[in-house]
């Protein structure tokens, strides 16, 4: 079955392909920033779905332009699990959680955006030398920067917000960053690895969802500060 560019007899300029990848990768980074910039959890879940959609787009582009056929399967799986299943799961979870007072974040929005800027700069600084000029994947350098940035931002989301649900979003964001690295830099890891990772994330999301529900029932809140009581 004809799937990828070569099947259609199309040839693309690698520069152009890189630009496409770059566009989607940057959008993923922007999505993480958006999560930091809002406080509404419904919006968080939607942003996550959007982020995953552009991750799927990256995967599709790699599969299409580089003709890595097995990435198509990964694309489909990303789409099903991250764009549909996990957001739906989290959405259903939110309807079951007890409505509550807004929790003051650990770091407020303006400061967290400042921190985010610093982290993105650090990500850029870190990745500058990893793929030096003339490297096979030179084009992917900005994608790598984006993905390291996304990982760091995911961690920042988990630190800055006290709600357990937002922390799940942070975790999933980190994971998206890792996936982006995997797909963009190696032009697709072996399918079995990707399957494993996807499965892990799905299970993690399930588990955290259940745990979250329990926390909410026990503490009447999903403010993780309350877990401090569990110390010792």
């Amino acid at each position: 079955m004809p799937f990828c560019s070569l099947d259609f007899g199309l040839h693309f300029d690698p520069q152009q392909v890189a630009r496409v990848l770059d566009f989607f990768a940057t959008f993923i980074l922007v999505c993480s920033l958006l999560v930091l910039a809002t406080e509404r959890r419904h919006v968080h879940v939607r942003i996550y779905a959007l982020q995953s959609l552009s991750l799927a787009a990256v995967a599709f582009s790699v599969a299409f332009f580089n003709c890595e056929r097995h990435i198509f399967i990964a694309t489909a799986l990303i789409f099903i699990s991250k764009v549909i299943v996990i957001p739906v799961l989290l959405g259903r979870l939110m309807t079951r959680l007890i409505p509550q007072q807004p929790v003051k974040p650990m770091i407020n929005i303006p400061s967290s955006l400042l921190f985010a800027a610093v982290l993105v700069l650090i990500a850029d600084y870190l990745t500058r030398n990893i793929l030096s000029a003339g490297h096979e994947f030179e084009l992917a350098r900005s994608v790598l920067t984006d993905s390291v940035g996304v990982v760091l931002l995911g961690l920042l989301i988990m630190i800055a917000r006290k709600k357990a649900l937002t922390q799940i979003i942070g975790f999933l964001t980190m994971e998206n960053g890792l996936f982006l690295t995997g797909i963009a830099i190696t032009a697709g890891m072996p399918l079995i690895v990707e399957l494993g990772v996807l499965f892990d994330v799905l299970v993690a999301a399930f588990l955290m969802g259940v745990l979250l529900y329990r926390i909410s029932e026990t503490f009447d809140s999903i403010d993780v500060e309350k877990l401090t009581k569990l110390k010792e």
């Binding site: 650990m106 650090i122 600084y125 870190l126 030398n129 760091l152 961690l155 920042l156 988990m158 630190i159 800055a160 006290k162 922390q167 993780v224 500060e225 877990l227 401090t228 009581k229 569990l230 110390k231 010792e232």
Partner: protein, 689 residues
């Protein structure tokens, strides 16, 4: 039928003994019979196997087929595939000791565990008992460091569970905790020890360890010595690592105490011998042996001094274990010194003699100490107290137990013709020959060690005069002690077996020493049995002009003297017979309160050694009407536990303080933890960039 078969059979029987009781868990009696009869059968089987190997059957290896089969399927099991057991002369000797005790203790347990029926799970006790013996057998036969550590830990944990078996008593929980902490400290050092070996050998196999002994630098060798000494010394109960013994041994049920004290602490001796005489023998350094010798001598005196002040029957015995481990290690330490001078045949045979002395005392201690613990168990099961001040007069009500306990007491006091005498005599001979060692420091240490060994022998005798006299003679000091009954036949049978063993080991050393000689011959390469003079009437180490004894003749002499003395007593005419109460001084009505107490008995020794004991006395007088009418006097005596006070307490304070500092960064907030992760991540990323 070969030794392998019997060895495998014994392992299978122990395993069966750990499984079958579950079937009859609702019937405690049956469950206990299943457990203990199976373990007795396993002990017999192990006995045959180890005897065969000691009598000349070639050493053999047993690998676990399941593991190698698994390794083909799951590659990560490969690491474990090399796990095998090996029965060489040294292992066989220890299997012999374990089995030799396992048999009578299993028989004893048949009667003893009835005490627990209805109170505790007899099934669980039986299962743990079997697992405990099995793990000890595996420890002394493991041929791979990884397997060794696994079964070592299994042994520690099973014995911990047995220590806290009567967990409803609060002091047992504390005893268990002390034991668990100490044993894990020891295991940590053992892991370090084997890691050092692994680093050189590249494999966990003991065979590989043997080959690389020459590759260590002097520094690394020093570390090896220190790690092994602390790791095994903790389990052995070497001073100052002995503090767990007086807690853990009394807390366990008595037949378990007998096993722990008789055999488990000996697995540490096995470890020491295995590491120093098997792996590192060509690399021994003379001062290692000296350190062992000095610590062992201190243990000997320290153990007996504290035993003298102890009035808890089982704690007293536990302190004596510290003493006897010291005596065993005096032999081993001396052997290490002797073996470190390679090439001198005199010194090598000294090493062999000292090893034989140590190992012979090991068997003897195992026999008489477990006999004493079983006797103590019999007394406690009847009188329901461990405090000897509340016993008394038991000899009339429990004549058999008293007789067996007396045999054990005479043996541990190193009096001829029983077994303790022979091995302590051998240790003395080795020490005297040790004067021929070339180093001046050793020359100076050896006589001091010999003198202290003599002192501890005398003190041990005093201690057992106290223990036996106060608990078995005189009048019952409490109501319980007045209502005891002789214990069941199985319990008497178990004790009788061990008492017989004590006598046989005492009068027939020429039968047993060649067996031990095979062990030393395989380790040191010199067999000295041929140099030792054996005959029915004479027994002399190395040079018979220097010293020789005949334990058998001594025994016969004692048997002969007894009727002669009785005869002599009658010679002056018919005995003038007058029946009054002993030591009554003419008073007509003696009450138990007038009896000599254990505290009183040990007072002279407490005064002589008061610099060491630093006793603290509190006397409270309650008066009535006027100060001359005394209603009650309360006397409280406390002995200073030096090591706990000046070493372990500051240490635990320090550890708690450090943990307190670390507690500050443990806020419990998820966000803070995540910040730690982010900061660490960023620092690492920036560093490796």
């Amino acid at each position: 039928m070969t030794a392998q078969f019997y060895f495998g059979l014994s392992l299978v029987l122990y395993l069966a003994g750990a499984v079958f009781p579950i079937i009859w868990r609702s019937q405690p009696r049956r469950s206990s019979y299943a457990a203990h009869l199976l373990s007795a059968a396993a002990a017999v089987s192990g006995l045959i196997s180890s005897l065969l190997v000691l009598l000349g059957h070639p050493e053999f290896k047993v690998s676990v087929p399941v593991l190698s089969a698994l390794a083909d399927i799951v590659p990560s099991v490969k690491l474990f595939a090399g796990l095998s057991l090996k029965m060489d002369a040294l292992s066989a000797f220890f299997v012999l000791v374990i089995s030799l005790l396992g048999l009578p203790i299993s028989i004893y347990s048949l009667g003893y565990v009835r005490e627990y029926e209805g109170k505790k799970s007899v099934t669980l006790l039986g299962i743990l008992y079997n697992l405990f013996v099995l793990s000890m057998i595996l420890v002394v036969t493991a041929d791979n460091a990884l397997l060794f550590l696994i079964v070592w830990e299994l042994m520690s944990i099973v014995s911990y569970l047995l220590v806290i078996f009567e967990h409803d008593r609060p002091e047992n929980a504390h005893a268990g905790f002390v034991y668990l902490v100490m044993t894990h400290v020891g295991t940590a050092f053992l892991i370090l020890l084997f890691m050092l070996f692994l680093h050189q050998a590249g494999s966990f196999d003991f065979d590989a360890f043997r080959k690389v002994s020459g590759n260590f630098s002097d520094m690394a060798k020093t570390f090896l010595f220190v790690f092994a000494l602390i790791g095994f010394g903790t389990k052995a109960g070497l001073v100052p690592l002995h503090i767990w013994l007086p807690y853990a041994h009394p807390a366990a049920p008595s037949h378990i105490s007998a096993l722990m004290s008789g055999v488990m602490i000996k697995t540490a001796i096995y470890g020491i011998v295995r590491v120093f005489f098997d792996f590192l023998q060509p690399e021994l350094v003379w001062w290692w042996g000296l350190v062992v010798l000095v610590l062992a001598t201190i243990s000997t005196v320290w153990g007996v001094l504290y035993a003298l002040m102890e009035h808890d029957l089982k704690k007293l015995l536990a302190y004596h274990s510290v003493e006897n481990i010291g005596i065993i290690l005096i032999g081993i330490g001396l052997a290490m010194i002797g073996a470190s001078y390679k090439g001198d045949p005199n010194l090598t045979s000294l090493a062999a003699l000292a090893t034989i002395a140590g190992l012979y005392h090991l068997v003897n201690h195992a026999a008489f100490k477990s006999l004493l613990f079983l006797g103590a168990g019999a007394v406690i099961s009847q009188a329901h107290t461990r405090n000897i001040e509340e016993l008394g007069g038991l000899i009339k009500l429990m004549p058999w137990t008293a007789a067996f306990f007396l045999i054990g007491a005479v043996a541990i006091s190193a009096l001829p013709p029983l077994n303790g005498f022979v091995s302590e005599w051998l240790t003395f001979q080795a020490l005297l020959l040790g004067l021929g060692l070339p180093d001046v420091i050793v020359k100076l240490t050896v006589p001091i060690s010999a003198a202290l060994l003599a002192l501890s022998g005398a003190l041990a005798a005093a201690c057992f005069v106290k223990a036996f006299g106060i608990s078995f003679l005189g009048m019952p000091r409490s109501e319980h002690a007045g209502h005891v009954r002789e214990v069941s036949q199985t319990m008497r049978g178990g004790m009788g077996f061990l008492a017989l063993l004590c006598i046989l080991l005492g009068v027939l050393p020429m039968v047993f020493i060649p067996l031990i000689d095979r062990v030393t011959a395989s380790l040191l390469g010199t067999s000295i049995a041929s140099q030792m003079q054996f005959s029915l009437l004479m027994f002399a180490p190395l040079d018979h002009s220097l010293a020789n004894i005949s334990p058998l003749a001594l025994g016969l002499l004692l048997l002969l003297i007894l009727p002669i003395t009785l005869r002599l007593a009658h010679m002056g005419g018919a005995l003038h017979r007058r029946q009054t109460q002993t030591w009554g001084c003419g008073l007509p009505l003696l009450s138990p309160r007038m009896e000599y107490t254990a505290t009183g008995f040990s007072k002279p020794i407490r005064m002589i050694f008061q610099n060491i004991y630093q006793p603290r006395k509190e006397i409270e007088v309650e008066t009535d009407v006027s100060q001359y009418v005394r209603k009650r006097i309360r006397y409280k005596l406390q002995i200073e536990p030096h090591f706990e006070k000046y070493f372990y307490e500051p240490l635990s304070h320090f550890i708690l303080k450090v943990s307190g500092v670390f507690l500050r960064i443990q806020s419990g907030s998820v966000n803070i933890y995540l910040i730690y992760i982010l900061v660490t991540l960023l620092i690492l990323l920036l560093l490796v960039r």
